[in-house]
């Protein structure tokens, strides 16, 4: 009888134990460490999401080949937002409630990231966006406060981080270069979409800080075929240089128009210009164009002792070998986001709060593809204008601008 009672007790104990374990979930069990990854793999922003997805698959393979995080394999759960904010939100909810991931990387565009950020904040889960807008990491009130001033934000949304350099840094890099060249009167042309108007705001906001006088401010539509009229107006405004802020075909059309008008002043492009294709499409017109670009473009020309050299050379060579396509900065944003999360989990374990604290306080001099990151409570991007090199198109290739 004694024997029988014992087995009953052990059965109950075993049951309770099993029940408890299954309740505490995968974080406690010996399952893989799960990281969520939301990207615009299909739809309008797929040119961002596709390289990001390829990068995620590559990083997962690398990290598990190295034995995962302290022997525990890493599983990157990739979700497609279809370039749609509501799909991004659904995917985020699934990752948080269903997959119980430790952190979420995503998404590719600012709009989607903004929608996801509120969910992640409410669920207290660290989120690292691959989109550039400062509004993603800055609370709305704070963003309103600094709008129209040259201040930087003093608070950040606690759970939200991002890897791409901000427009502000790109603008500052351009203005710093102009100051060095003695340029004070500048004409700007911007595209009337989200990217262009955000850039236009920053160009106007930061100009006083570098004693730049904006003498012309022109816009054009994202599907416009010719910007000669806008550039002619800038030419007559007494500007010493033109800055164009757009992505897609329009930045090439502006380049062609600038060349055909023989404007006699340098053309600066935004950090969206960093694609060899743009030089090719401009067919010789891009000669002399200057743009602030992350170091993933032209990394071969960096000195080997540069802190980013190792990261860049590994990522660029492996990516190009694997996908047979040119490395893009967008994939790099995904790489940085994933490795920020992985390095944090390595240091403090798969605990959401600890990972957040680590991301905010302990990411110092951390070399990524986008630059050397220094996160703090007031800066959840961690990059400044030093993340950019001023690059000039010389003989159809990138070269460091003098």
């Amino acid at each position: 009888m004694n024997h029988k009672k014992l087995s009953k007790i052990s059965l109950i104990t075993a049951f309770t134990l099993f029940f408890c374990l299954s309740l505490t979930g995968p974080a406690m069990a010996q399952g893989p460490i799960k990281i969520g990854f939301v990207a615009s793999i299909t739809g309008g922003a797929s040119w961002l999401g596709q390289p990001e997805k390829d990068t995620a698959l590559m990083v997962q393979e690398w990290i598990n080949k190295e034995g995962g995080i302290k022997g525990v394999p890493v599983q990157i759960i990739i979700e497609d937002s279809k370039s749609d904010a509501s799909q991004a939100v659904l995917a985020t909810k699934k990752l948080i409630d269903g997959d119980k991931v430790v952190a979420i990387i995503g998404s590719s565009t600012s709009g989607e990231s903004m929608a996801m950020a509120s969910i992640c904040e409410a669920a207290k889960i660290p989120m690292i966006s691959m989109a550039a807008a400062l509004q993603i990491v800055t609370p709305a009130d704070e963003y309103k406060r600094i709008a129209g001033t040259i201040e930087s934000p003093r608070v950040q949304r606690p759970w939200i981080f991002k890897t791409p350099q901000t427009d502000t840094s790109a603008v500052e890099a351009i203005y710093a270069h102009m100051k060095k060249k003695g340029i004070t009167k500048v004409g700007i042309v911007t595209v009337s979409d989200g990217f262009g108007s955000a850039g236009r705001n920053e160009l106007k906001r930061m100009a006083p800080k570098y004693n730049i006088n904006l003498v012309a401010d022109e816009v054009y539509g994202p599907k416009d075929a010719d910007m000669t009229a806008q550039l002619t107006k800038i030419r007559t405004s007494g500007a010493q240089a033109v800055i164009n802020w757009s992505i897609g075909p329009t930045q090439v059309i502006v380049t062609k128009n600038w060349k055909s008008l023989a404007m006699g002043m340098p053309l600066y492009q935004s950090h969206g210009f960093g694609n060899k294709k743009n030089i090719e499409l401009a067919g010789g017109s891009a000669e002399g164009v200057i743009a602030p670009l992350g170091r993933l473009i032209g990394w071969e020309k960096l000195p080997k002792i540069h802190p980013q050299y190792k990261v860049l050379s590994r990522y660029a060579t492996e990516y190009e070998k694997r996908t047979k396509s040119d490395v893009s900065t967008f994939g790099g944003h995904g790489y940085d986001g994933l490795y920020l999360a992985i390095d944090s989990i390595k240091a403090v374990g798969p605990d959401r709060t600890k990972v957040r604290d680590f991301l905010e306080n302990d990411i110092k001099n951390w070399p990524g593809t986008g630059g050397v990151f220094n996160m703090s409570a007031t800066d959840h991007t961690g990059l400044d204008l030093s993340a950019f090199e001023m690059i000039q198109v010389v003989k159809g290739d990138w070269a460091f601008a003098k």
Partner: protein, 298 residues
Amino acid sequence: MDLQGQIIQYLATGLTLGSIYAMVGLGFTIIYNATGIINLAQGEFVMFGGLIMVFFTTTLGLPLFLSFFITLALTTGIGMLYERLFIHHPSKTAPLMTLLIITVAVSIFFRGIAMFIWGKEPYSLPHFSSPEPIIIGGAAILPQVFWILGLSLLAVILMNIFFNRTITGKAMSACAVNRVAASLVGIDVSKMVLLSFALSATLGALAGASITPIALMEYDRGPMLALKGFCAAVLGGLGFGTGAVVAGFLLGLIESFTTGFISSAFKEATALIILILVLFIKPSGIFGSAEVGKIKKI
């Protein structure tokens, strides 16, 4: 740069944009006249013109001249296929509204095909002649601009001769006036409709192939061009070829001069305000007449 130079520069830009709008507008008019349909896939003909030309010159490496004519022929073929597959059969029974929706569907379908073939990135073409700008009165004008203007003017003149001087052209005009009467006097209306799609597609291809060297081309450029061309067609008095052409040039010039002398932020708004004003004051368009408008059904 002095005022004269500026004005010449804005004039050149305005005429370049205008000739594209004019050709798209004329394309709208031709199909509208033969069928009463507003072909919303008109912009896609332009897109195909540009991208097919890219395929033959850049991908296959054929000479510019040869691939230009292959492009025109192929796009014309696409236009004819479009009519036979999607318009010919339904047009016998379906109301105009259904046909209009079909053209929307075809426009999306064409964009989808182009995206599969060429992807989403833009493509460029070499200039037809030297890429070095010519300086005229202080303004720098690309030789390509003269190509665009010349080709579109040539197309407009040929269309005019065709509609006013040839039997087939007059037969098409007859279809426009009254389809039943036209078929009663022995005009093959079905053939005329097919021809209208072919001509429209050729015009689109001409526009697309000639602007791609300066404006690039990508799969989803069509809708915006269609919108501007449609504005031109309406402004000129829907159904009047010459009206659409003049209105197209007018739109281009308004956009360019607004950018130059007011602000680029208002260029689209100015063009559209003028469109609305004209339609308020003269609903039949600048060149349209109210009587003809009454005869036509929409």
